[in-house]
């Protein structure tokens, strides 16, 4: 179905090629997982199949790409719309219509289908994707999973033979994500549609895919069978990492496969408890309302020096509102917050910078200058500290980065490091991180975990909002679980993330060993 020969791609203005002389073939009805570290160019790789690269990314493409016997090299996306369907990360960001049926019909309209044929197709694909009962509904009223189904239906309605999806499950909760992956597998195996799926939570897909394409970031692109992929690829899901550490042959790909095996007590260790200092932050009865919405309903929380507290919970459970309220800037209707240095709500913005650091969900919101060097210098100036202070902190977190780079061209991990450095310029002792693992791959998450451990060892207090279970298992000392703005459980990670807890990690679910929740505990 797809054949690419000698395909190379490089962004204009840089000499590095994202990939060089790639050759591979993908068969009809194959379900292919595309993976690679962030910034490796896996998104770009997906975009060459419908012309979005180079037409929407700039850069130069060479070589030939054939789909269904046609040479599509150099064609515009709208010319390929009938051949390749494309779905991106956030469905709500790509919707063009108001209602489900209009959205599914959009490409049919653009391609000039006759109205009667359109109605037939809208009905057929709505049925296939299970959205036939909500055809008349407004898109914004749908759940994330339903939205993604609609996006897939509209990408296939014109009879496209190839479906390309760029991290379609990243905004979904685990159950909805699993449904979407199963659905895609069925589309491939039963409808004969060739599906290319990029995903960095590999554990969701790896056991269902027919093949894995690894875009490695060193300009190589290779196709493997799922089981062979991890011999080449360093960024592995927890279960595979576990198999590798324990030398299991063949490697287990998901918790079910691993479940038949066991681990001896000598092969793992409990997490070491940190030594805690004085209480740096204490909050009583925090209430946050936005108009009618009650975001946080009376939460109390203490955190000590050297402690990492993680606030978990579904989207909309109030994590973010709580974090912002603790910092002192966010809205708060009632409640008391005190730190070892006073009430943050009565501090000036400038003073707060010396006490509490906060990295928002969208770290880039803080960035507005044209180069990394400018941002670092601006930070020194505002804080009134010696030149290169911020640069030194940044280098500690992120290593060497070209100071002339545009901050928005840096990877998500580097942006996070930059904003953390900006926030720690005055060596604040309380550090709040709102969903810090968004957009990070396994390597970047490990790096972040190291940074967190380092800050912790310096005696700082860290409070994180996160729903990334595996990451939380790596860093947390204490977990607070929120639901509808209230604390429903709190306790140690070993309890909450265990196989009997509310939010089991993969390792906990696979090995069902009390106290063992993270691969990092396994001794190699």
């Amino acid at each position: 179905m797809i054949k690419i020969s000698d395909v190379s791609f490089g962004y204009s203005g840089t000499e590095n090629q994202v990939f060089r002389r790639a050759n591979l073939q993908i068969g009809s009805g194959e379900f292919v997982l595309v993976c690679g570290p962030t910034g490796s160019g896996k998104s770009t790789f997906l975009k060459i199949f419908n012309g979005l690269a180079p037409h929407f990314t700039a850069g130069t493409l060479s070589g030939t790409i054939q789909i269904d016997g046609q040479d599509i090299t150099g064609r515009q996306p709208h010319e390929l719309a009938g051949l390749v369907g494309y779905v991106n990360q956030q469905p709500e960001g790509s919707f063009v219509a108001d209602t489900v049926e209009d959205e599914i019909a959009y490409s049919l309209e653009q391609l000039g289908f006759a109205p009667s044929e359109m109605r037939k197709r809208v009905e057929h694909f709505a049925n296939l994707l299970g959205v036939d009962r909500i055809l008349k509904q407004n898109l914004m009223s749908l759940s994330g999973g339903q939205q993604q189904r609609v996006a897939i239906a509209s990408a296939l309605a014109a009879g496209q033979k190839v479906l390309v999806l760029d991290e379609p499950t990243s905004a979904l909760d685990p159950a909805a994500a699993d449904e979407i992956v199963d659905l895609l597998m069925n589309l491939a195996h039963q409808q004969g549609i060739t599906v290319l799926l990029a995903e960095h939570r590999l554990e969701r897909v790896i056991s269902k895919a027919d093949a894995v394409i690894v875009v490695n970031g060193d300009s190589s692109v290779n196709k493997f069978l799922p089981r062979d992929a991890f011999k080449e690829y360093r960024l592995v899901p927890p279960i595979v990492e576990l198999s590798q550490k324990l030398g299991w042959q063949p490697a287990a790909l998901d918790p079910q496969e691993a479940g038949n095996r066991s681990i001896s007590p000598s092969q793992w260790a409990a997490k070491t408890e940190p030594s805690l200092g004085e209480t740096l932050l204490s909050a009583e009865g925090i209430v946050v309302n936005y108009g009618e919405t009650k975001a946080v309903q009376g939460i109390s929380l203490q955190a000590q020096a050297g402690e990492v507290v993680v606030v978990m919970g579904e989207n909309g459970s109030g994590k973010s509102s709580l974090i912002w309220a603790l910092q002192g800037i966010g809205d708060m209707k009632s409640g008391q917050i005190s730190t070892a240095w006073g009430d943050p709500r009565s501090m000036s913005d400038q003073r707060r910078l010396e006490v509490i650091a906060l990295v928002p969900q969208k770290a880039a919101d803080l960035l507005f200058l044209n180069t990394l060097a400018d941002e670092l210098a601006e930070s020194d100036r505002v804080a009134g500290v010696a030149e290169t202070t911020t640069a030194t902190i940044f280098a500690k977190f992120a290593g060497r980065v070209d100071p002339k780079i545009h901050p928005r061209d840096m990877s998500a991990g580097q942006q996070l490091a930059l904003v953390l450095a900006l926030q720690l310029v005055k060596d604040a002792s309380i550090v709040l991180l709102d969903e810090p693992t968004r957009g990070l791959d396994y390597a970047a998450k490990h790096r972040l975990a190291e940074v967190i451990a380092e800050l912790q060892s310096e005696g700082k207090t860290l409070i994180l909002a996160s729903h990334d279970i595996e990451f939380v298992a790596l860093v947390a000392n204490r977990i607070v679980v929120l639901q509808d703005g209230q604390i429903v459980t709190q306790g140690s990670p070993a309890d909450i993330l265990s196989h009997e807890g509310k939010l089991p990690t993969q390792v906990a679910a696979a090995l069902r060993t009390p106290g063992l929740i993270s691969v990092s505990q396994v001794l190699s």
Binding site: G93, V96, D102, A105, Q110, Q350, R352
Partner: protein
Amino acid sequence: MRLLIAKRADAVHPGSWWLLGLALAVAAGLTSSIWIALSICVFAVAVARLLRTDAPWARSLGFYLTLATGIVVLRLGFRVLFNSGLATENIAFRLKDIELNLGFGPGVHLLGSVSWLTLQSAMLDGLRLAAIVLSVALANTLANPRKLLRATPGALYEVATAISVAINLAPQLIESLNRVRRARKLRGRSKKIGALAGTIIPVLEDTLDRSLSLAASMDARGFGRRGSLSSYQQTATRVLSLTSLAVFAIGIYLLFSDPALAMLAASVLALGVAEVLIVVKISSLKHVRTRYSSQTINALDLALWLASAAVIVFSVSGFGGVQ
């Protein structure tokens, strides 16, 4: 009951409401009778009130009413203030005559004696503009702007899409503006660049990212496919565009040249408008696009069209006579 009627009104093609609104506006513009202008005001407000839904665009009727009242008051006030013509007969009231020197031109006379005639003509002028505003308000209240955007002809499809993209982005923009404003405080005070750049750049970057990814997804689904016009059609649109403008120029000249030629001027201008409509029609042919749910025309639409036509014919034919 009212909601039931409103629901029926919503089923009408949005263009029909605009047609009626514009017809009423034309009638208001042409009339020389205070009573006709006033009845148009009353009619427009009554219909809009009776048929409006509770959609966001239907909530601004109050604003338009305030505006229309303001216009009438302003017009009367201006006319009394800039009265200058020192009326000698039929005096309504006398105020102190003030001469104001602005440093250039002749001195400006303010206030003074105001005649009934002045008041009457000021009232007419004010009511006329108020009636035009309320006619537009009628259309704006009853026509669903999203449906109207969807019904735009192919020649304006790109512009209409840009506008609907903008309308969809606006709420997200406000959200991202609030988010960035809050985030900015985290950096303490910033001296170098005003707070403005620090707010507007992240918002713009964020929105541009979203919008470009929306554009990518639209393009990937076939947006931007177009055929090409034959060279004959291209020539035709060019010639028609240019001649329509020439026709407008002639029409405007005729309009102001001789009172007797007013009807001729109107017909010449109508010819120009027809030419533009043909240009739009031909330019729309380049799109291969079809419509999934096209707005249907029902009996109510036909009734509205007839009413609009009657209003226009009546007011245009009445114009000569009243003058």
